[in-house]
């Protein structure tokens, strides 16, 4: 299908983008467009105005990746391909680096942005789950200035976030990896690069032979990225079987699989990821 008609406005600065959002009540922001334009084509979304934020870049920091005060700050307009090739991400955000090859296909990664993926909050997407596993945060800019929202408070429901209607996600921040940081990532999809049937992003701290502060963040297993807290506790005591048995997830049936299949697959992924977490970093 073809999109319904809309007006197109290209914002040159962040202030201009926020002003346009305030002016047009049913506007949508266009970043990479790799989800938005598909929904426009299918007429699942029909805004009257599209505000293109791709012209806001560089000097405003929306397109940069930097280490700042023990955190990695990733500008909202950083494209997947940029993150995939970034030394800073490889060194200080190894979970994001591991997730990258699973996101879409080369042509999609050339356009899609990290900020767009987080703001869209698809329950089967990789990056929201990574942000949750890393206890990261989101920087939002609106008419009253900037505010910071923790990942745990950001994902509210199916495609629903804590962003206000006049706010723009401008950056994400995650704690920089240290020597004892361990990460794990696995997903099952029908075709490599497609949305996951179910997936798992995880982080922990290596503590001698054991694990501490385990954070298991499943995607494709609920309306938002879902922590499996009982399984986290079991994994901290080193018992993978108990962690699988304790998996506290209630995935719904969807077009890809029934809830029961997803729950089974979540256990399979947990075993794979537990193995990754227990390997010391090279």
């Amino acid at each position: 299908m073809k999109p319904a008609p809309f007006a197109y406005k290209k914002a040159r600065t962040l202030d201009e983008a926020v002003a346009l959002l305030c002016e047009h009540k049913d506007a949508r922001l266009l970043a990479g467009g790799q989800s938005l334009i598909a929904t426009l084509n299918m007429r699942l979304s029909a805004p009257s105005v599209l505000i293109d934020i791709n012209g806001i870049n560089g000097s405003n920091g929306l397109g940069g990746i930097a280490e700042k005060n023990g955190a990695v700050e990733i500008g909202a307009l950083v494209r997947h391909v940029q993150a995939e090739r970034s030394d800073v991400i490889a060194r200080l955000a190894p979970l994001i680096a591991r997730a990258m090859p699973h996101i879409g296909h080369a042509a999609i990664r050339n356009r899609g942005t990290l900020g767009g993926s987080i703001a869209f909050a698809d329950p089967a997407a990789e990056l929201p789950a990574c942000l949750m596993a890393l206890d990261g945060e989101v920087e939002a800019t609106g008419p009253k200035g900037k505010r910071t929202i923790r990942a745990a408070d950001f994902f509210k429901g199916l495609f629903e976030t804590a962003l206000g209607p006049q706010e723009i996600l401008t950056a994400i921040r995650i704690p920089a990896a240290t020597k004892d940081t361990r990460v794990g990532f696995a997903e099952l999809a029908r075709r490599h690069g497609d949305y996951a049937i179910v997936g798992l992003a995880a982080s922990a701290r290596g503590d001698g032979k054991g694990l501490k502060d385990v954070r298991l963040s499943f995607f494709g297993a609920g309306d938002t990225p879902s922590r499996a807290r009982k399984a986290e506790t079991a994994l901290e005591s080193g018992d993978v079987d108990a962690a699988v048995a304790a998996l506290d997830l209630q995935p719904h049936d969807d077009v890809q699989a029934t809830g029961a299949v997803k729950k089974h697959l979540a256990g399979v992924l947990l075993r794979r990821v537990a193995k990754q977490l227990m390997e010391p970093r090279p």
Partner: protein
């Protein structure tokens, strides 16, 4: 044209153009309907099939997931451009010789994706493995060949180009 239309200036296959487009027109529809460049195909229209793959500023993109209006100031290359210049002549020949196409619907996108991989491989100085070839064309559906012949063709060209470079 409605009053929503926007003027854009862009380069398509080396030719400078000034056009007036509706914001809602996707890049691939613009190329096909306004410019008559029908080598880029419209398949799923939501980014799954890869039949509309074109190059914008040197990088492959989905022509159905980019709007024509976003290409203001950009350099767009379609299968017509990259085949006329001879850039992918060896890939075209290998596809033909190895039966890497039957109906041909996916072929323009497949060639664009394969050429993207070969250019990246050239930068890093290596020949991509069969797994890497499969991964790079994973965003392009082919419903005829079963992919095996396509991987054969791309691998043969990768090896030939690496050999020629030595």
């Amino acid at each position: 044209m409605t009053d929503l239309a926007v003027d854009i200036a862009l380069t398509v296959n080396g030719e400078k153009l000034a056009e007036r487009v509706e914001p809602r027109q996707t890049l691939v529809d613009f190329l096909r309907d306004n410019l008559g460049l029908t080598g880029s195909h419209v398949g799923c229209e939501h980014g799954v099939c890869g039949a509309c793959t074109v190059r914008v500023d040197g990088e492959i993109v989905r022509g159905c997931l980019m709007l024509a209006v976003q290409c203001d100031g950009s350099k767009v290359e379609t299968i017509e451009g990259i085949s006329d210049s001879g850039e992918v002549a060896d890939l075209q020949m290998a596809f033909e010789q190895r039966n890497a196409l039957q109906c041909g619907f996916c072929t323009p996108g497949m060639i664009a994706a394969a050429q993207d991989l070969l250019l990246l491989a050239k930068e890093s100085g290596g020949v991509p493995s069969r797994d890497e070839i499969r991964e790079h064309i994973s965003g392009n559906y082919c419903r005829c060949t079963g992919y095996h012949a396509i991987v054969d063709a791309v691998e043969a060209v990768a090896q030939a180009r690496a050999g020629a470079a030595k």
